[in-house]
């Protein structure tokens, strides 16, 4: 019996912290993925996952011996070898990740990266928010959301396989792999294995924890702008704002289809009883604006919803004539509209982001007295 009882540190501290923070963040994201009211928690935990994965990708090249990708990138032949060993109940022992375990990690990392990035795009489709708002359309965001959900299912399946693998190897090699992921130690068996412990790297670990917690929390602090209004699709040209904003707030072009704006400009000499006058180059600039920013372009949630609520031949001349507007404002007492201060044209009174054309739910401030039965 020459079994050694000494252990060696196999998993450095950053890797262990990464692993368990990922487990927690992923679980929180999992649990909050379906509830509208918990979306900000979902985004917060999802962005923690993103930071953690980014770390792991870097650490896979710069980390300690068994954290590096090169340490557990095995050929298909080695994977088959190991699986045959499992069937015979005596798989070879690897100090770091075993071959199929290594592959599982690569697959999980890839899925995780795809999951988080599709999440950023899905956010556009869901709420019209985030770094890609105004860069991809609402429709595109909604399509990516389907992909996000499919990848999620694959990832859960992969996590299941990973857990099964941990259980099987722990049992076959009579060692507690779960505990090893906490304290980082595995037993040393004869001279086949290098016995030097890997360095702990405490500073990297500290940096990882700080980045993973601080960056997402700052992103989601109250008051942080959910929109990046400089994105091309969201920017309203100055000429539109000045020409259309002198007698009423400059209604964002995204709130009506281009056929409506076209009609209004063609009939500028009878604009709700007023006579509008435009220089030719101003008219051209306004036409160009609505060609790129009207409701059909669907850069914002409201554009998407208004556009889809209209019939193909409908040419609404007022935003408040669109079915979607009507539906969203149905619970407001009708007499509210009679007061000039809270008239239908005064979007900006309740919607603090009306000028940018965004109309986020969280940007609405109203007095409860105007909401009736």
């Amino acid at each position: 019996m020459t079994e050694s009882t000494s252990t060696t540190v196999v998993w450095d501290l950053p890797t262990r912290l990464f692993h368990w923070m990922l487990v927690i963040a992923f679980t929180v994201a999992f649990a909050t993925g379906e509830k509208d009211t918990l979306l900000s928690v979902h985004l917060w935990s999802g962005s923690i996952v993103m930071v953690l994965l980014l770390f792991r990708l870097i650490w896979g090249f710069l980390g300690t011996r068994h954290a590096r990708f090169a340490d557990f990138a095995y050929s298909p032949a080695k994977v088959m070898d190991y699986l045959k060993g499992v069937i015979q109940c005596s798989p070879p022992r690897f100090v770091g990740h075993n071959p199929p375990g290594g592959w599982a990690i690569f697959i999980l990392l890839a899925l995780g990266v795809f999951l988080t990035f599709t999440g950023v795009a899905a956010l556009v489709g869901e709420e019209g928010r985030g770094p890609l708002a105004g860069i991809i359309t609402i429709g595109q965001g909604k399509d990516v959301k389907e992909i996000h959900e499919a990848i999620f299912i694959l990832m859960v399946a992969m996590v299941g396989i990973h857990l099964a693998g941990v259980v099987v190897e722990s049992w076959l090699h009579r060692e507690n792999l779960l505990a090893a992921m906490f304290h980082g130690r595995k037993r040393v068996e004869d001279s086949n294995f290098v016995s030097d412990s890997v360095p702990t790297r405490p500073w990297v670990a500290a940096l990882l924890v700080v980045c993973a917690l601080v960056i997402p929390t700052i992103l989601f602090l109250p008051g942080s702008k959910p929109f990046w209004a400089k994105a091309p699709g969201l920017r309203i040209p100055e000429v539109w704002k000045s020409e259309c904003g002198e007698c009423h707030m400059a209604f964002p072009p995204s709130l009506l289809p281009s056929r409506s704006w076209d009609y209004l400009l063609k009939n500028a000499d009878n604009h709700f009883g007023e006579v509008l006058t435009f220089k030719n180059e101003t008219l051209e600039a306004l036409r160009k604006t609505f060609a790129n920013h009207s409701a059909e372009e669907e850069w914002t949630e409201s554009a998407h919803k208004i556009n889809r609520s209209l019939k193909k031949d409908q040419v609404p001349l007022r935003i408040s004539d669109t079915p979607y507007w009507f539906k969203k404002h149905a619970e407001i007492k009708p007499e509210t509209w009679n007061n000039l201060d809270t008239a239908k044209a005064r979007c900006e009174k309740c919607h603090s982001d009306a000028y940018e054309g965004i109309f986020d739910d969280s940007a609405i401030t109203w007095h409860h007295s105007i909401v009736g039965k």
Binding site: C247, H248, M249, F272, G273, E274, V275, L276, T277, L340, D341, A343, A345, R346
Partner: protein
């Protein structure tokens, strides 16, 4: 020290007077152009009368008069009669940006005279109104 202070204050006074005259020049130029179009002496009182006269009923209800949007006192902010949008005061004394852009002045005279009077204002009428609003 005293010499530097005196020189500095003389220079800044000169600059502010120059910009005031530059501003005043735009309005003076505008009034001059009305004269070349046939207007006579400008009369602030006549301008005030035009400002406050109702030129009939609006088809959608209400009177056609400048004050319905620009308020009875041009030194106060107004409110668009149909949309409720706040409008900055018309009097120069309350809003130094008024009448600094001749194109803007002509654009709004065109639109609003058609709206209120039902026709374009004559150069005399425009000059009278600008005189009224700049004298408050």
């Amino acid at each position: 020290m005293k010499k530097i202070f005196t020189t500095a204050s003389v220079i800044s006074l000169a600059i502010s007077l120059t910009s005031l005259t530059a501003f005043a020049t735009t309005l003076t130029e505008q009034l001059a152009s009305y004269r070349t179009q046939g207007a006579g002496e400008f009369d602030g009182k006549a301008g005030k009368i035009l400002w406050n006269t109702s030129y009939g009923k609006d088809p959608e209800g209400g009177e056609r008069v400048c004050t319905s949007c620009h308020s009875n006192d041009p030194r106060q902010p107004g409110k668009h009669v149909k949309t409720g949008k706040p409008i900055e005061p018309m009097a120069i004394s309350a809003n130094s940006q008024r009448f600094t852009d001749p194109e803007k002045v002509e654009k709004w005279f065109l639109r609003n005279c058609r709206q209120v009077l039902g026709r374009e204002c004559t150069p005399q009428e425009k000059g009278n109104v600008l005189t009224y609003l700049s004298g408050l």
